[in-house]
């Protein structure tokens, strides 16, 4: 075996290295020193992120083609790393509490383990490796969701998550076994693609497609595979919720893109374009319809994220290089906007335990900066110019309309109408904070340094990412580099 292949896995190795360091430190350091767990992880991870971003990537296939290192996956890993870094920063205050004394290290270890799994999902070009990555990402997440183990909701959420995860894994496996049968005994994406391209449309293939879609749709919380989302988002600790909502979703979306475009690309116009078409409409609409009636902020964000997942999927249905670019861009923007919102929710939750939208009334009087950050996040999620969310939505719509198909124009129209609905509920939050005449429920407080730092990063991202076009240009360059490989089998 050629061990030099491991050099292609630098991001994975760095995450693994940090994981081991944190694990060792947490196990052997004295009790007082362990207080620094969070700071240590954050700093190490920050350095690691910088290292990953600057080492760049040398496109190559390793381990017999199971693992691939290419420009887009590298770009996505950079994006996810930024998101994880913000999550880590935001969680510092929460893990600092007395209640977390014994478990603080575990939080970081589990989180890094899931990230490792997600990296594998992203880079996998073999279904076996993909499943391993998926499970590595799923199981520790269940433990993370149950992290507030004395809270009933946290446990309930974890139970719901693990049950649905197991079920979805079963369905996915079922689908993959059909795939295995179809391709004549290979699980390499390329072999599957060749078999699909040469074979005929069959019931087996359709069932395989539907089950694989359902299996990954679970991670993305696409409707109707999303029902766990609200309960889990609400029950899980806020740091875990924000992690689930952006990082987990971003990596799954990318894996979804690669699997469907690369492995099943041949039947795009015949089969899965229309499956996805229906799913996207359902996801965006149902997510919105539920979101408009939520009172709890975390539940509200859960349905908002369901709907946002539908928008992310628009990049997949476009199935072109612009689609890939705009999906990456959307994920990047979504990370900043969503984490901005969760940052505020977490800061307020940590301080006062208030999580309902009604508690946000009059927030601008007691905590104007928090209200400001939340407003920007909501504007960006709703896609109001000139904030980043506007540009990401525009780009993803552009990618869909690039193919000039009437059906896809209709899809964009439906998505646009849904944007209006989403505007309503995002602005409900803004209205509660700025316009509601009531006296503030949340008393004035000064958030912790780490929280403020995290929020400033998000605010800067929301304001500048859309306006700074080199970012999009870089992502576009990355996608174009891999376009021939990605879209080789597209029918």
């Amino acid at each position: 075996m050629d061990y030099s292949q491991f050099s292609a896995m630098i991001p994975e190795l760095i995450v693994l290295g940090i994981f081991i360091l944190v694990f060792l430190f947490d196990t052997f350091a004295s009790e007082s020193a362990r207080k620094a767990d969070g700071m240590l992880t954050t700093v190490l991870f920050g350095l690691g992120t910088v290292a990953i971003c600057f080492t760049g990537c040398l496109p190559q296939e390793c381990f017999g083609g199971m693992y691939v290192c290419n420009s887009v996956s590298f770009a996505l890993k950079c994006i996810l790393n930024i998101g994880v870094f913000i999550v880590l920063v935001q969680s510092l205050q929460w893990t600092d509490s007395e209640d977390m004394k014994m478990r603080r290290g575990e939080f970081y270890e589990l989180l890094l383990a899931t990230l490792f799994g997600m990296y594998l999902m992203i880079s996998a070009r073999h279904f076996l490796l993909f499943v391993i990555g998926l499970e590595t990402a799923s199981l520790p997440l269940a433990a993370l969701i149950a992290f507030n183990k004395k809270h009933y909701e946290s446990n309930e959420a974890a139970a719901k998550y693990i049950m649905t995860a197991v079920f979805s894994s079963a369905v996915l496996m079922m689908g993959l076994s059909f795939v295995y049968g179809l391709s004549g005994g290979s699980l390499y994406y390329n072999d599957v693609a060749a078999a699909v391209a040469n074979g005929e449309m069959s019931g087996m293939l359709i069932v395989a497609l539907a089950f694989v879609l359902a299996g990954i749709g679970f991670k993305l919380s696409l409707v109707p595979f999303h029902l766990w989302t609200a309960d889990v988002y609400q029950g899980a600790p806020t740091s875990v919720t924000s992690y689930l909502s952006v990082i987990s979703k971003g990596s799954a979306a990318f894996a979804f893109f690669v699997i469907f475009v690369q492995a099943f690309g041949a039947v795009y116009p015949e089969a899965w374009e229309w499956m996805l078409y229906g799913i996207i409409i359902l996801t965006i609409t149902v997510g919105n319809l539920f979101a408009i009636r939520q009172k709890n902020m975390k539940r509200f964000m859960a349905f908002s994220s369901v709907s946002q997942a539908g928008y992310i999927m628009l990049g997949v249905i476009a199935a072109n290089a612009i689609g890939m670019t705009s999906m990456l861009f959307y994920i990047l923007v979504y990370i900043f906007s969503n984490l901005g919102a969760f940052g505020v929710i977490q800061a307020i939750g940590n301080k006062s335990g208030k999580l309902n939208m009604d508690d946000y009334k009059g927030l601008h009087k007691s905590n104007p900066w928090l209200a400001f950050a939340m407003t920007l996040a909501m504007f960006s999620l709703a896609g109001i110019p000139p904030f980043a969310g506007f540009f990401s939505k525009i780009l993803i719509f552009t990618s869909v309309t690039a193919s000039n198909s009437m059906a896809l124009y209709m899809l964009v129209l439906i998505a646009l109408i849904n944007t209006i609905i989403s505007l309503y509920y995002y602005l409900l939050v803004v209205k509660a904070m700025w316009i509601a005449p009531e006296d503030p429920v949340v008393p004035a407080f000064r958030s912790a340094c780490s929280e403020r730092f995290g929020m400033w990063i998000c605010v800067a991202g929301i304001v500048f990412i859309g306006l700074v076009s080199p970012i999009y240009g870089w992502l576009s360059e990355m996608s174009n580099l891999d376009a021939s490989q990605l879209f080789a089998w597209l029918g």
Binding site: V207, L209, L213, F218, W228, A271, M275, F290
Partner: protein, 642 residues
């Protein structure tokens, strides 16, 4: 010519506006006032330099073989619609723009200085100076426009600054509604202007004045004989452009905003609503005069509108009580005078003397009308009322104001040797040269002018003393206010001797003014008789005016109510437009459009409630949904494909 000075002339006022507008809040009043005055003073000095260089340097760029040239000092492309249709921003120097530079900066500087005293105790003093600077900038930009589109842009800017200044006392409901009225009426007229510009540029493919006016015949040819409703499209374009001028210059029936605009501070009325902005319409016609010459029907239209307006405004002015309103109607009447002079000008009639005299009157009128307004401001400052019924016998208390005001009245009445005599005489001569009807009609208006001006003069300074003077003794204004009065009075005395014909003519060739003895004598006699009549009626307190009023109560009331123009407008807008048209549209909006939107919202909400059962909270149900979802997805696809 070097472009530094022209750019500075525009740059100083706009930067003053920005400095005072943004930083004014942090400044003391004195600082803001001094800054504004200094800025305007510098602009005035620069404008004088430019104008004097243009007129008197004899440089070959400005004058060739005794013909004054039109010169684009700079002209940079700003917006290119098509290859030919290009909007540029530039600086045009020719006799009328140079003359306007002098007029605008002089009056503006006087008003800046005067306002320092007049507005001293008003809140928002800094804002006031900022707006004055904005206005000066816009007006200067308007007169130096190299193309009609640039003119339109500044035209609107002038409208905005006028709106801001009329509504300066924004806590007074009357000021607010007056500013709205002014803005809406002029904006409505500008719609005509814009359509005219579009029609004209559509056929001629250019906005540029030089290109349009240097060869008007080709402009006519480019329309290819196209007609619309019996008139050629060029006539339509020119008349529509003139409609814009009617709005700004308050020609009938768009004059209704100007009297109400007197709600603004008095110095503003002097600057904007007497001397500069309201003559923009005259300037516009003069600027495009060669084009109008091609379409004489448009000129006839201008003449008719002007003649009617001049008479109407003069009659109304005879029956007003508010001195600013009298001056406002007098302004309308005088501007109409200039319009008629332009309308009757033809190159074959004494080298278009009408054009020259109209510009001459624009110049002299700006000086003595600003003087009269500033004098009225001093009066209002002293007695705290706009009505002459609160004044009377003021000549003893306010000698400076009295003498300067008298000079203004003599100038506007056209008495030798004051400025108005010369310009008015030339205008009347031009009218007689065209058709004796115009001449006779306008001589009558000139007589009315002398009458109502002296009626006001006698009512204010003679008649009988107001008993209130004993408690509150009126006195002359502080030096910041008196100095502009004296300066302008001096100018009004000597401006008539300027050899205007040598400087400003329609084609740049000098014209030697010679007084037509018949016309001059007639107009002088008429003016003196009118003044005599006014003196007989109003010099000493007596019952003759009341008796006259009671003899013809209907006529007096109609004239006092401005012949019910406002009521007619009110009827049309409120009763017809608001009640019938707007109400039905509002109904449609509320019951059809809004209801549809509400319906959508309701459907969304209902659906949201209807599907809430999906999120039951029980894990079994979730997994069931999941499974059926996946199976259904497969089934549907299967059915569709196989």
């Amino acid at each position: 010519m070097d472009i530094t000075l022209p750019i500075l002339i525009l740059a100083i006022p706009i930067s003053m506006f920005l400095i005072l507008g943004i930083g004014g809040v942090k400044m003391s009043r004195k600082m803001a006032g001094v800054l504004g005055i200094l800025g305007m003073g510098t602009t005035m000095a620069l404008a004088y330099t430019v104008a004097f260089t243009y007129f008197f340097s004899g440089d070959s760029a400005f004058i060739v073989d005794g013909i004054r040239q039109q010169l684009q000092v700079f002209d940079v492309t700003w917006l290119a619609f098509t290859e030919k249709l290009v909007v540029s921003i530039g600086f045009l120097l020719d006799p009328i723009s140079a003359m306007m530079l002098v007029v605008i900066t002089t009056i503006s500087f006087m008003v800046h200085l005067y306002s320092w005293g007049y507005m001293e105790h008003e809140p928002g003093f800094q804002r006031y100076y900022a707006f004055l600077s904005l206005f000066s900038f816009s007006m200067l930009g308007l007169v130096v426009a190299t193309n009609i589109f640039q003119m339109y842009i500044f035209w609107e800017l002038v409208g905005v600054s006028s709106y801001l200044l009329i509504g300066f006392f924004y806590k007074l409901p009357s000021a607010v509604s007056a500013s709205k009225k002014a803005f809406i009426v002029t904006r409505f007229a500008d719609l005509g202007f814009l359509i005219g510009i579009l029609v004209l540029s559509f056929y001629t493919n250019t906005f540029n004045f030089a290109a349009l006016t240097s060869d008007p015949a080709s402009a006519l040819a480019s329309t290819g004989g196209a007609t619309f409703m019996g008139a050629s499209v060029l006539t339509w374009a020119l008349v529509l452009i003139y409609v814009g001028g009617m709005g700004k210059s308050a020609m009938m029936p768009l004059h209704i905003w100007l009297p109400d605009a007197m709600e603004g501070p008095t110095p503003v009325s002097a600057l904007i609503h007497a001397a500069t902005m309201v003559v923009a319409g005259v300037y516009l016609v003069a600027r495009m005069f060669p084009l109008y010459l091609v379409e004489e029907s448009a000129l006839t239209f201008i003449t008719c509108v002007g003649a009617i307006t001049a008479f109407y405004a003069a009659v109304v002015a005879c029956c007003q009580i508010d001195i600013k309103r009298i001056l406002a109607f007098s302004t309308i009447s005088q501007i109409a005078f200039m319009m008629v002079a332009l309308g009757v000008a033809r190159p074959e009639l004494h080298d278009a003397m009408g054009y020259m005299s109209s510009m001459f009157h624009l110049f002299t009128h700006a000086m003595f009308k600003a003087l009269l307004f500033l004098g009225a401001g001093a009066l209002i400052h002293a007695v705290h009322s706009n009505n002459y019924t609160e004044m009377g016998g003021l000549r003893k208390y306010m000698p400076i104001t009295h003498w300067t005001f008298l000079i203004g009245c003599l100038a506007i009445a056209g008495i030798w040797p004051f400025a108005g005599f010369f310009s008015k005489d030339e205008m009347l001569a031009a009218m007689f040269a065209n058709n004796w009807i115009w001449g006779a009609w306008m001589t009558m208006v000139a007589g009315l002018t002398a009458f109502y001006m002296f009626r006001m003069y006698f009512m204010v300074f003679w008649w009988e003393e107001n008993p209130h003077y004993k408690e509150h003794k009126p006195h002359d204004a502080p030096w910041q206010m008196s100095l502009p009065l004296i300066v302008l009075a001096t100018v009004s005395c000597v401006a008539g001797f300027i050899p205007f014909g040598e400087l400003v003519t329609w084609n740049g060739a000098p014209y030697h003014i010679h007084i037509d003895p018949v016309v001059a004598t007639t107009s002088l006699v008429v003016a003196v008789c009118a003044i005599g009549l006014a003196a007989w009626l109003y010099m000493k307190k007596n019952s003759k005016p009341a008796a006259m009023k009671n003899a013809m109560p209907t006529l007096w009331k109609a004239a006092n109510r401005r012949f019910y123009w406002d009521e007619i407008y009110m009827f049309i807008t409120h009763k017809i437009i608001f009640n019938i048209i707007c109400k039905s549209i509002a109904w449609f909006d509320r019951h059809i459009i809004d209801a549809t939107m509400d319906g959508f919202a309701k459907v969304t909400q209902r659906t949201s409630v209807a599907i809430k059962g999906m999120q039951s909270g029980s894990i079994q149900a979730y997994v069931l949904w999941y499974f059926f979802g996946a199976v259904l997805l497969a089934l549907v696809t299967w059915i569709c494909l196989l």
